[in-house]
């Protein structure tokens, strides 16, 4: 399928590993991405915090830039996805907001008609449009032996309190990782918050949330946490050392994007998938995959026959025999 593509600011640089690996896997799966011409920042959670109407207008400009003929707009960053999704829905539901936003767009000779664009997350197009069965056909190096945490965060599962996923216990990423051959870790915090912008607002709050996620993953002997959002990756990876310092712990938990491990499973090179850009090295993952597979488990020995001399076992009483 052909999609309009909104990379978002993070994927340009800090989450380049996500952007590069997403493009690579869509290539393997023959999906076409058409980047929006001259897109602008989504405003993260910051613009909505202070001034909602300009925030909606900022986002509607991106919706207005979707080329005619394309209906689906893909955003891999969950914060961009939340904002675009929320804006599209609110414009459709609120006529006054829609006319105000379009009055603002008209200043740059743009307009947007609600309902014409479907905002999708990168994970959704891969599992819903391409599908697990098709993805499985492209696997060259199954992720056998890896114990991965499927971590969803907030915005993918609860975009503005809307959305179609289970807001508490989603499973699409679990199923994708299992399709790739990995073992998934049952993770009670899979849809919990990574701290968002809290490292800047109140670092202690953020460290507490980061610590909970990392420590829980470590206690379940995970090899890595798999994310689908640049903010989650940034908080769990880049701030992991600070959270360790704050709590006196020594965790070293790699945090990767789902598209990076998907690329590995498709036989693409770790370098092309952006391995090495993470703060907590994910070399252990690559080593584990490169290691020869463990010898197959020995056939369980046959159960020894009961000795004929042993005392008789109690027999089951047939119906009717009970008095």
């Amino acid at each position: 399928m052909k999609y309009a593509y909104y990379p978002g600011c993070s994927l340009e640089k800090n989450a380049a590993a996500y952007g590069d690996s997403f493009k690579a896997v869509t290539d393997v799966l023959s999906q076409e991405l058409v980047e929006l011409e001259d897109w602008n920042c989504c405003g993260a959670t910051e613009y909505f915090s202070l001034d909602p109407l300009p925030a909606y207008a900022l986002l509607a400009r991106n919706l207005a830039l979707v080329p005619p003929g394309l209906t689906d707009l893909v955003a891999p960053c969950s914060a961009c996805y939340l904002n675009l999704y929320k804006t599209e829905h609110h414009l459709a539901e609120r006529p006054q907001l829609n006319s105000d936003v379009n009055a603002a767009l008209a200043e740059a000779h743009l307009s947007y008609k609600p309902g014409t664009v479907r905002v999708r997350h990168a994970l959704d197009i891969l599992v819903e449009d391409v599908g697990y069965a098709e993805i499985a056909l492209h696997i060259k190096q199954p992720l056998r032996g890896l114990r991965l945490v499927p971590y969803y965060g907030c915005f993918f599962v609860r975009p503005g309190g809307l959305g179609s996923h289970n807001p508490e216990y989603p499973d699409v990423l679990d199923r994708l990782l299992e399709t790739l051959g990995a073992t998934t870790v049952d993770f009670p915090l899979k849809a919990a918050c990574c701290g968002g912008h809290m490292p800047q607002i109140n670092p202690e709050t953020a460290y507490g949330l980061i610590y909970e996620l990392i420590a829980t993953a470590a206690s379940r002997e995970a090899d890595a946490i798999i994310t689908l959002c640049p903010m989650c990756q940034l908080n769990l990876d880049v701030y992991q050392a600070q959270a360790n310092d704050h709590f006196g712990t020594h965790h070293s938990m790699p945090v990767l994007y789902f598209t990076q491990v998907m690329g590995l499973a498709f036989g693409l090179s770790p370098q092309a998938m952006g391995f090495g850009q993470e703060f907590i090295s994910a070399q252990s993952i690559l080593d584990k995959l490169a290691a020869p597979p463990p010898p197959p488990e020995e056939e369980p020995k046959k159960k020894p026959q009961r000795s004929k001399k042993a005392l008789p076992m109690p027999r089951k009483i047939e119906t009717g025999q009970v008095r």
Binding site: T45, D51, P52, P54, A103, A104, E107, C154, G161, P167
Partner: protein, 193 residues
Amino acid sequence: MANEQHEVTLYDQVAAIPGGERLKSCLQCGTCGGSCPSGPDMDHTPRDIFAMILAGKREEVLKSNTFWYCVSCYYCTVRCPQQIPITAIMYQLKHIAAGNKAYSAEATAFSQTFINMVENFGRGFELGLATQFYLLNRPLAAVGMMPMALGMLTRGRMALLPTRIKDLNGLRAILRKAKQIARQRDLEAGVRA
């Protein structure tokens, strides 16, 4: 609407957003605060805030740190048994507090710096954001941020220069107009005097 007979209350201003009037149906069950990642650091949990709004404690509400600590995770919104749009109310409280300058400048510093980057370039610019925010607001913490910034640079994860969109003038015109309409709507809803 603002008129002489009826002074606009904080409740009226919150109820101005779609679903905001559901605030009145709050059961005081506390699911919101119990679900909140920042709950323990808030000086009032969302449940308290709702009771305070309904009790007319305007100043105490607007001076609390509650909504500034909201990370917008939407757990409370999906869990509220009364379908109160709690996260949206937190956004509205930020907007009201900001419009009435009822906060310490630090509360909005990060958001404002971020918005400035967007308005200057049309794109986010992390190095500019971090430098401006930390030097102006937390000069001491800035020193501690250096190793992280270096790590980001050496891994190619941070740009040294901002990227500007082509139609920056068009974007600014859109935002200017949107702000002008927003002021008008805020006056109508009594969010701003």
